[in-house]
Symmetry: C2
Subunit: 302 residues, 2 copies
């Protein structure tokens, strides 16, 4: 067992979590959410995306949000940039890291971003090059690494292929995402192992969805391979807009509870994190997707 | 890794799951639930309890339910019997197994059954002896083996103590229950290891609650110790009446999904199980507590 003693969490709530909200969330609320997350001890936050507001209207306020954050030293602020135009807009807001995204499933790539996997990588290559020239880190999000809503089960060879392409264009770290939450421990480990052929363990993060309630067992399985970077979403915000029934980013609170219970350090104050989740859940007028949050709030009420 | 290739699941839904329902559930519905569970492939079902209807009115129809079941060969029907009077009533209905229950927490024992742990064991001793004399198997449910709502964290030494007492009065198998769902993998493994000092692995089952969303990661942790008996509740029915916020038996559907995804045999037909869960959820007029069930039903609707 290579279970790490410390884990680094990347909260994707402000971007991945909020992007599909129908009602516009004011920039001030997004900024406050980022502030609360960093106050709770998060050292990496996926803040917004620079995509056409036609496609993702919720992220149209990317500049307002990025320029409104009181940045803390030691916190990494990342943004999604699907193309050069997006990257150039993002550059003005000085993100610490940009994120490009590809799918391990051809069908998902076609339906999600209207091109093949290979074409998507070609499109990202100049973005990656420009980011590196500007001294900005680059993360590659790899979706559907276990299953795809259109193709079903995705074999590890497809992850191996995508990770190799990502590496080839200079992506520095990758997320192994189970976008539709169908993964179970051995399958998730196989996807991670395929990725480890191209990236060292420090550059690989796990991104699990709780659609089938499997995210924490998959997290444990990833920890057992030595993975120590994970993505999660405060209050379990969000999901994937294009994958039917694929809501359910695992809640950061639930991951932190698991890790702290195992004696693994995260640097995160769970109570402050629950408050951050409660802040955004109240704004959205819905119960938190985090079981830990619901249990702790019930306990607080005594 | 000793991960087993087959797992035996004990569905506690009809008893543990339904016991706290305020509205009486008709005996015919309980019988239908048991029939659906066995048709789905469950080989062990906790059917009812023989306790005073003053305390648990929902189980007042124990005789009607037990005598109404069309029993299948190879399926074990168990019932809860807290004392000799309950046992004698149960005996007339020929259960395959009786269940006695003790807590690893003194405070919980006092609040739950009004006596110390040692006193509860004394009370169960003649029940166990009578069951064995009648050729009926005996299971011991050990609650609060990781945490207690009154005492907080429970050290493994308390589990060791309780398991030893259970063994001492002739209990044949025991459940390691995380009654309030606060456990995480290492803590659950410590409770199981304490139990393994007294019982062989084949006689130890895991019973995890999903209050904090940790049940499946704890299941994985138990599998890694070689545990191959687990308790769960169809549709995530039920919880513990006396432990505040302690709702949340893990859903059988979610456990089956995990196991099948890992290539572990259960003999259970997941679709039939989802139907069984949907049957009782519709009767109770509430959504299933199973994420797998909700995801699969959404998928069926296309």
């Amino acid at each position: 067992m290579n279970i790490p003693s410390k884990v680094h969490l990347i909260d994707v709530g402000p971007r991945d979590g909020l992007q599909n909200e129908k009602q516009p969330v004011p920039a001030a609320v997004k900024i406050e959410l980022v502030h609360r997350l960093q106050a709770a001890g998060l050292k990496e936050i996926e803040v917004t995306s620079y995509v056409s507001p036609k496609w993702v209207p919720q992220m149209a306020d990317n500049h307002e949000v990025m320029s409104g954050i009181a940045r803390q030293t030691g916190v990494r602020y990342s943004v999604l940039t699907p193309n050069l135009k997006g990257f150039e807009a993002a550059l003005l807001d000085r993100p610490d890291e940009i994120v490009v995204f590809g799918a391990a499933s051809e069908a998902f790539s076609q339906k999600n971003i209207n091109c093949s996997i290979a074409e998507s990588i070609e499109r990202f290559a100049p973005v990656v090059a420009a980011a590196k020239a500007a001294g900005i880190a680059v993360r590659g999000a790899m979706s559907c690494t276990v299953g795809c809503p259109y193709e079903g089960e995705i074999p590890p060879e497809r992850v191996d292929y995508l990770a190799g392409l990502m590496k080839g264009i200079g992506v520095e770290r990758v997320d192994v995402a189970d976008t539709i939450g169908v993964g179970t421990p051995h399958k998730v480990q196989a996807a991670i192992e395929a990725t480890l052929k191209h990236f060292p363990i420090a550059q690989v993060s796990g991104h699990f969805h709780d659609t089938y309630g499997q995210a924490l067992s998959n997290t444990l399985a990833a920890l057992e391979l030595g993975v120590w970077n994970f993505q999660s979403s405060v209050a379990g915000l969000g999901g994937c807009p294009y994958a039917k029934g694929a809501t359910g980013n695992v809640a950061t609170e639930d991951v932190v509870y698991l890790l702290h219970g195992m004696g693994i350090e995260t640097g995160i104050d769970l109570d402050a994190l629950v408050d951050a989740g409660q802040f955004i859940s109240e704004h959205l007028n819905r119960p938190s997707g985090s079981r830990v949050s619901r249990a702790l709030l019930a306990k607080r009420q005594g």
